[in-house]
Symmetry: C2
Subunit: 375 residues, 2 copies
């Protein structure tokens, strides 16, 4: 028996419609999208366009052609960040960032002489950002929801600040997509990056950078684009400019059905469902002095430690009982530092839309057994 | 009825085992590989390791950890080329390169001040390469098989030249993988890049750069690596250094079964089968003065034009009869220039391992109808 509570790493199980769609796509839309114009190539392109359109609908963006597909959100963030930030620029990131934002920004600091500042999410994020904006500030880059606590940043408010100052706003929606309704237009988001395999319930292997308006990043990865083949550079328009090589049609087909599932059920309803599961778990240990919780735990994630025990060990003992959680730093050392977790991080428990009620009960029972006997 | 003859763009249909493997992976190995160590994360990692090992077996490389996964071959080539070529270096490419090599090299020329030379594949490729090698030559980069004619370059001989001169040898196996047995060790290949979705019969959405020996490229794309999370840079070892963000486990599962299919049937046998299909087609038009063929047509690809008719139009008329071919430049303007095709390229007809004999007959009949009546 598997009790999967690691949905913040990747959602599991997936809706059956997602798997069926991938299968059908492999059987019926087997052409190479954007390469040639025969019927199977067009059917593949259509599926990609369907995925672009659904993403735009979900995130209130106008232009499906502004959606560039990548292997995952990290690639999407890299293409946006490396493609839009210039030598000598200054950017502002939050103190809760994942390495998918921190490392590209560090890379630019090392190799392109950019500078970056870190705004605090403890107090008023907007005030913190305002105090950090300089003349050469090019962008504010931050995650919408933390991958270790699920806590949401006020992107609507931040967007107003960036717009006011003529600064780009790049949002990492890796953890919020499918859980929090996000309106790119209302929140003045210029680029939103999102994976298929987390809250959108699609397969691993596809992510997207959604560009609003007329933003045209430099291409960092170049190659065949299926169009303007004679030019030495990638085409001067999206999405072709950022889509070098063959795109992953079957995973795009799965993503479409994942998005449809989210749309049917609604982000707010899914988030409330996940929060309910996690509340059942975290409340049960609220008064247990052996447990230390971090963050708000108001959402679908509970981050905790057993005092004096490495998170790795607790996670391993849970795994022996069939429970899948993730210990350690979750690729987010900056966020862990901000929260003040120990050197080796903490155990993350995360629910998904298809988590069943018994899983919470089983988790509670199992962790109690571990606390009372095996430690 | 669909007569798919565009296998050089992407192979179709796939072996049913490929599709079943993706489905099973989605159902049974739903964790995030390399993120946490619970059973579902490990099952996902194992599947990726299986794919790495199968690739090493197929291409005679020793180290599965030298296999870095990407979304496609273009990304693999970019990570290798941008990660290994330094400012002021000189590289040598062939006159048959696809934009997946040409554009990254052009990018380095523009932004990093490298220089590149083009060796001729008409005469003795090795002699041409030798005459171009300079003191600062860092690498020879070339495709093993042309994507527009299928013609093979003598990578074994080229490898000896590069080894002799202490120059890196980077091979684009996009068109040869699964069709030509390639021994990275014997051919002194330092990096081989290959897609899943062409000759290896896997799904779109995953490709690999296979690094031999102790080569350690710079990381261009950075982010979460699941290991050494505290470091600002990506881990100093492969494959983690080049694998930022979540990897595509389901497509890796499909790739495994595609490789197994190729191993069972054998590259030589598949290549002979495809050549047989194409021979049936091309020989039928060998004496037809209205047809102009390019390249050798000894393999699984026939490149042709109807004299005086744009390739796009011929391909479109074929599509009306259910036949999928690809006209134009095939993202390889340099190769088309080398072959001397017209401005708008040519029609490419390409067989695959699952092409059926009736497809050749149907193609011949259909093209004759077009030549005799519809043009």
């Amino acid at each position: 028996m598997i009790n999967y509570l690691d949905n913040a790493a990747t959602s599991y199980p997936k809706p059956p419609s997602v798997i069926r769609a991938m299968e059908r796509c492999m059987e019926e839309r087997g052409g190479n999208p954007g390469r040639g114009s025969h019927r199977l190539a067009l059917l593949a392109s259509e599926k990609l366009f369907e995925a672009r359109s659904l993403l735009c609908e979900l995130f209130s963006s106008d232009d499906p052609e502004g959606v560039a597909f990548t292997m995952n959100t990290t690639y999407a963030l890299n293409l946006a960040i490396l493609g839009l930030i210039n030598e000598g620029d200054h950017v502002i990131i939050s103190d809760m960032e994942h390495n998918s934002v921190l490392r590209p920004v560090e890379w630019l600091k090392r190799y392109k002489g950019i500078e970056y500042s870190v705004f605090s999410t403890r107090g008023d994020a907007c005030e913190s950002i305002r105090s950090l904006i300089r003349k050469n500030t090019r962008a504010v880059i931050c995650s919408h929801a933390s991958n270790i606590t699920g806590r949401l940043l006020p992107v609507g408010d931040i967007g107003r600040v960036t717009r006011e100052h003529g600064v780009l706003f790049i949002v990492d929606a890796a953890q919020s997509g499918g859980l929090c309704k996000t309106d790119m237009k209302k929140s003045c988001i210029d680029v939103l990056c999102v994976p298929s395999h987390k809250g959108l319930l699609g397969p691993q292997g596809i992510g997207a950078a959604i560009f609003a308006g007329d933003i045209l990043p430099r291409a960092v990865i170049t190659g065949g684009s299926g169009a303007l083949s004679r030019d030495a550079d990638m085409p001067p328009y999206l999405p072709d400019r950022l889509e070098a090589g063959t795109l992953p049609t079957p995973t795009a087909a799965g993503l479409c059905e994942g998005i449809r599932y989210v749309m049917r059920r609604g982000e707010a309803s899914i988030a409330a469902f996940e929060a309910g599961i996690i509340r059942k778990i975290s409340e049960d240990f609220a008064d247990d002095k052996r447990i230390c919780s971090y963050g708000d735990a108001g959402g679908g994630i509970w981050l905790f430690n057993v005092r004096g025990v490495p998170s790795q060990k607790v996670s391993e003992l849970l795994d022996r009982k069939g429970i899948c959680t993730r210990p350690g730093l979750h690729c987010a050392p900056l966020a862990h530092k901000t929260l003040g977790t120990p050197e080796d991080g903490a155990v993350r428990v995360s629910a998904g839309p298809l988590t069943r009620p018994w899983q919470a009960d089983h988790f509670v029972r199992s962790l109690r057994e571990i606390l009372d006997g095996e430690l």
